[in-house]
Symmetry: C2
DNA sequence: GTGAAAGCGCTAACAG
DNA sequence: CTGTTAGCGCTTTCAC
């Protein structure tokens, strides 16, 4: 479809018998222009249905008033909430957001970053994918003088702003709580170790075990991803081991949901047979019959702070000094890990009757 | 922070001793250029870390390869899912999406549309807010020759593309199902009547009642919004009426969730004491102990079709003929409205004992 | 206060 | 195949 001829500054200028510079200034409220002409200009602009052409404006003014955002997912409680806040803060500050979605695909992420750079965004905010390993583009961004803020899924490199949760400390608190509750055999479903949040949450887990002199059992530390399906699969895998732990910590809420579903299908009761906690929460939690106790992360706050840090970098005249903000978490107890309920079970060492029951559960999985 | 001097076409041209036009063409794979020079150009471009400046490109080429999207919310199952699909289709077609969020605020919506127009998006996709009444801007968009596609929350005006659910038919199916199950006293929580989806779903409801000769009782048609809180409040209001219906249809899933919560707090059992269904679903449904039967809407499909329709409008040479796509829905039965279970109760006509129980429930609300 | 000139980085049209 | 010439619509000097 062919666009209608747009009205331009010159159109207004011609109509009023002034130059387009005057119009441009008038429209932007430049002090050069008299109140009177300004008013006249604005009226005509409105009558003509004038819309400034940002492409042209940005081309000459060298900045776009635009911030590029790259996230792995959007139909996801954590990200959509964070993004919504980013939009709100941007709106308050007259910035426009250009949001792109990598779908957890590093190639697509790279594509979007390049695209955003080509659109000449003034700054970049991103949560990297689980696959991202090549950091070259980030250094390129840095060279180009475009402030870059990592949020939640951060990159451990100097030179960039980072805004994250206290992943390690939060996990530590939760796991220590579980230990205090009385559990001595604890497992971790850690997502991916090569991803920052996975690594940090793992450290929080091992910190707690170390502090309380509980030996770490590698077979109880499982990594396969951060999603619900991963949690589901991890839990099944855990069930195959010779001995079951009393408690499982999941690196994300979706993973815990996967565990929840798997346990339900296997007829394993939470928290009676096995107890769980996780990092973060989601909408579904309110509606579970056994709501999962979790490390509550300040989701909106992450987005807000990321924007603030980014705007601050934009303001600083020359080089910006990268900032690193770590937000605190709080333990939120619901229906799990309230008191010790689990009885250590060694499924595969149990009498035949129980074994049978367990495997029936497994079969029902299909 | 000051941006680094960007490398331009001329830089590459200078380095290679050719003109910038050659470079421009080479980079875009224009057939004019020989394979050899093209290769050389690309190499230097890469070495220099060249990024095309889209502002400049778009300014001269008159289109931005960009589609503007305006939605009321983003941290919301329906919209985030739809948006994700929009992003996917855009990506496949080499379009960039500029997403804006109106937060159900008509002023903000208007602001964003203007902004998008100023960014010279090639087309617009939108779901209007619940407040939107002034359609002037949409006609302006039309005049400017920018294809506009409404999705889900559509506007009943000629000249625009619309992609929506079969709201009326879907609701009809559900309500008729409830009637077939045996219910004769049915209520509707309809959201807002002035919003298209509210109006259509209301029609579906009344259609079904009319067909089966069931009188419409205005006090059982409540409107106050589409959110969870609205459903919650509406249900409390319903409870205040002299007589309770056997069945309630909610215009959205969040509303049904509100009803669910309210009922739970009042000690009213679903579906035993009152049965419900709703239009649409959400993540939480899977985890409810009583999963709500619903009219399933093709959420991703809405986004996909909206994009396709929009792209088609973009392709058509001159004027585009507006298309109106209505997507079918399917009835998805879960744990509600399976069979008639409700016993008509007239709470306020019951013996004192029951009355007391009921009001205790209400008190516990705080 | 106002405007003329120059140019942002790129593409389109045409000429060689 | 390659290059020249003209802008796209706006802002930024810098004269007047």
């Amino acid at each position: 479809m062919k666009k209608t001829q747009q009205v331009t500054l010159s159109d207004i200028a011609g109509k009023l018998g002034v130059s387009k510079v005057t119009v441009s200034k008038a429209l932007r409220g430049h002090p050069d222009i008299s109140r009177e002409t300004a008013k006249k200009v604005k009226k005509i602009a409105k009558d003509l249905g004038y819309f400034p052409n940002y492409m042209a404006r940005n081309l000459s003014s060298k900045h776009s008033n635009t911030i590029g955002v790259v996230v792995p997912k959007i139909a996801h409680y954590f990200f959509s909430t964070m993004i919504e806040t980013i939009y709100d803060v941007a709106f308050e500050n007259n910035y426009e957001i250009i949001l792109t979605v990598s779908q957890e695909d590093a190639k697509r992420e790279l594509y979007h970053i390049k695209s955003l750079l080509s659109m000449r965004v003034d700054a970049l905010i991103m949560s990297i994918t689980q696959q991202t390993t090549d950091l070259a583009i980030f250094h390129k961004v840095q060279e180009m003088g475009v402030p870059l803020t990592f949020v939640d899924r951060i990159v451990d490199e100097p030179g960039f702003n980072t805004v994250s949760n206290d992943d390690r400390g939060g996990t530590f608190k939760a796991v220590e709580h579980a230990i205090n509750v009385g559990y001595t055999t604890l497992a971790l479903l850690g997502g991916y170790e090569h991803v920052n949040i996975g690594r940090q949450r793992t450290l929080g887990f091992t910190d707690a075990l170390a502090k309380h002199g509980i030996p770490i059992r590698p077979e109880w530390m499982i990594y396969s991803g951060f999603g619900e399906e991963d949690g589901y699969r991890d839990f099944l895998k855990l069930c195959e081991s010779d001995e079951m732990p009393e408690f499982v910590f999941c690196a994300t809420f979706p993973m815990a949901l996967g565990v929840y579903r798997a346990a339900e299908e296997l007829g394993i009761r939470i928290p009676d047979d096995i107890d769980i906690m996780c990092f973060g929460s989601g909408i579904a939690n309110r509606f579970l019959s056994t709501r999962i106790s979790c490390v509550e992360q300040p989701v909106s706050e992450l987005g807000k702070v990321a924007m603030e840090v980014t705007l601050a970098s934009l303001q600083s005249a020359e080089e910006y000094t990268p900032r690193h903000v770590v937000l605190g978490t709080t333990l939120k107890l619901a229906d799990t890990c309230i008191r010790k309920v689990a009885v250590p079970k060694k499924i595969y060492y149990q009498p035949a009757a129980s074994l049978e029951a367990a495997s029936t559960g497994i079969d029902s999985l299909d």
